[in-house]
């Protein structure tokens, strides 16, 4: 039986007066890849940013409802968003390594910026493990002290994945991680996602339906801030129950 890692209950989100997400309910299983698809502006990114409390970072943004991780509400009273984000890592649309840091320092940025004290050897071990997990080790192992922005866009994105893995999260959120990358870099990231789901729960936002079909186990279709349909990816793409879903995946709009 699949256990639920994340449970979204009655989630509503606003930007100022704009009601971006309307009453979302969703159960995200453990150790699987869940894709969120939908046309631009439907609230995909907002939804994923609500899961690790990044939505509220934007001025005038507001959230109500609950997101449970292993049954604990990340919006509960007294819950520190900083701790939530340590458990639920995130990879962004554009690769954003820290330009002032080397590749090595980028990977351990989460540990170092949190003041974690570790020996040089332990840190080197974490860097190698994270870069191997992100399938980047072989490409950068001889230049770990080179600039984090001196590598290609695809490599930068994998560096960002390594950086997220280094803090040992349980869930990884990916907000259109390939939209700024070429097809070869995209293929590498997709292979990586399939690899990572052995150990992590992954939620990926994508506006590329083929990508959702290739990498995900479950797919949620979001339209105008409402969750239209959610189920196994294969079923969503072959026999959608809702008319809107069918129109979208057959390319009639969006």
């Amino acid at each position: 039986m699949m256990t639920h890692k994340l449970e979204v209950c009655a989630l509503n989100a606003w930007f100022g007066t704009h009601h971006t997400l309307k009453d979302i309910n969703l159960q995200i299983p453990d150790g699987a890849v869940t894709a969120i698809i939908g046309p631009s502006g439907c609230g995909k990114s907002t939804l994923i940013r609500c899961l690790n409390r990044m939505h509220e970072v934007v001025p005038r943004a507001r959230v109500t409802g609950h997101v449970l991780i292993d049954g604990h509400d990340v919006y509960g009273a007294g819950i520190d968003p900083v701790q939530v984000r340590g458990k639920i890592g995130m990879v962004f649309q554009r690769p954003n390594p820290f330009p002032t840091m080397s590749i090595f320092d980028n990977v351990i940025a989460g540990l170092r910026l949190n003041g974690t004290r570790k020996s040089r050897r332990d840190l080197a071990g974490i860097v190698e493990r994270s870069l191997r997990q992100a399938a980047l080790w072989d490409e950068v192992k001889d230049d770990l002290h080179g600039s984090g922005v001196g590598i290609s866009g695809g490599q930068q994105q994998r560096l960002c994945i390594a950086r997220a893995l280094a803090v040992e999260p349980e869930v990884i959120l990916m907000d259109e991680p390939c939209s700024a990358l070429d097809p070869i870099a995209t293929a590498k990231i997709e292979a990586l996602i399939r690899e990572l789901k052995q150990e992590y729960t992954i939620v990926i936002v994508t506006h590329n339906m083929q990508q959702a079909a290739r990498v995900s186990d479950l797919t949620a279709f979001l339209y105008l801030g409402t969750l239209i349909e959610f189920g196994p990816t294969e079923r969503i793409f072959t026999t959608p129950e809702k008319k809107e879903t069918e129109d979208y995946i057959t390319g009639r709009f969006g």
């Binding site: 984000r85 554009r94 954003n96 330009p99 002032t100 940025a109 910026l113 949190n114 600039s147 803090v167």
Partner: protein, 280 residues
């Protein structure tokens, strides 16, 4: 537009920009060169180690004024840098707020206030209650002058740091204050330091606000609560005097002041150059 014509226009524009660049550099070179020819002959080891001599006595130096200027800059930075940088961060973080708008407006007005007025302000606020000219009053006046420069450049530089970097750090579970210190400020460091250097260079040459705050002193200063000598005031005093050897000393003083500013700018640049280099 034909290719031939575009080439000509391109060439003309190129020549114009080069000429303008030269026009910017020429005054600096001329001033420095003129100071060199006028001042270098009066420069010797005594100039840096001795106190001013009375009129007519040969020799003497400006050691007290050099130390005084460095002391005043130090005092001004102690007060002005933390307040300026923190205010700049506040403005960058609250760009939309009404209070932020008010602070920004005040900073812009403050940077337009004539420095003599700031001198009077420091005189009323510090010299009168203390019943004495003092290094504190001079440092305070200079701090007020550097404050808006530091605040506004810090704001602009912090604002230039892309939000994606902030988000990257926050999403790693890094608290906001550490994100600000180790990601945002580190990325904006180069620009903020440029702003600070501009402010220091500006106050190093200020004379008017020091005339009735730090006042000046022909001897070593006795603590920070008393009058203190400074290069600009010393240069001013010597330059308006009727004595030839004082004029020569004034030229030498001006040369030393300019060199001091150039060297500190250079030193700060070299010392703060990061291993990987900054984004801005």
């Amino acid at each position: 537009m034909t290719y031939a014509r575009r080439r000509i226009v391109n060439r003309v524009a190129q020549v114009c920009t080069v000429l303008c660049t030269v026009a910017v550099l020429v005054p600096l070179v001329l001033i420095f060169g003129y100071l060199l020819t006028k001042g270098v002959s009066s420069l010797n080891i005594n100039f840096f180690t001795q106190l001013p001599k009375p009129v007519g006595e040969p020799g003497g130096g400006m050691a007290n004024a050099i130390v005084g200027t460095l002391t005043l800059i130090g005092l001004a930075c102690t007060l002005g840098l933390p307040i300026g940088v923190l205010a700049g961060i506040f403005l960058a973080e609250h760009r939309q707020s009404r209070f932020g708008w008010a602070v920004r407006f005040c900073a812009d007005v403050l940077s337009g206030v004539p420095s003599i007025v700031i001198g009077i302000y420091a005189y009323t606020l510090i010299v009168l209650p203390m019943h004495s000219f003092s290094a504190y009053a001079g440092g305070f006046a200079l701090a007020v002058i550097m404050l808006p420069i530091v605040t506004r450049t810090t704001e602009e530089m912090v604002h230039l740091v892309p939000d994606t970097l902030r988000e990257a750090s926050l999403a790693l579970g890094v608290p906001a204050w550490r994100t600000m210190l180790w990601v945002v400020l580190r990325t904006a460091r180069g620009g903020i330091i440029t702003g600070i250097m501009l402010a220091v260079a500006r106050i190093a040459g200020e004379t008017a606000p020091l005339l009735f705050t730090a006042f000046g002193n022909q001897f070593w200063h006795q603590g920070l609560g008393g009058p203190i000598s400074s290069l600009p005031v010393q240069i001013y005093t010597y330059a308006i005097s009727p004595f030839d050897d004082w004029h020569r000393q004034a030229w030498a003083g001006a040369l030393v002041l300019l060199t001091l500013i150039l060297l500190t700018s250079l030193a700060v640049r070299v010392l703060t150059r990061g291993r990987v280099g900054t984004a801005i």
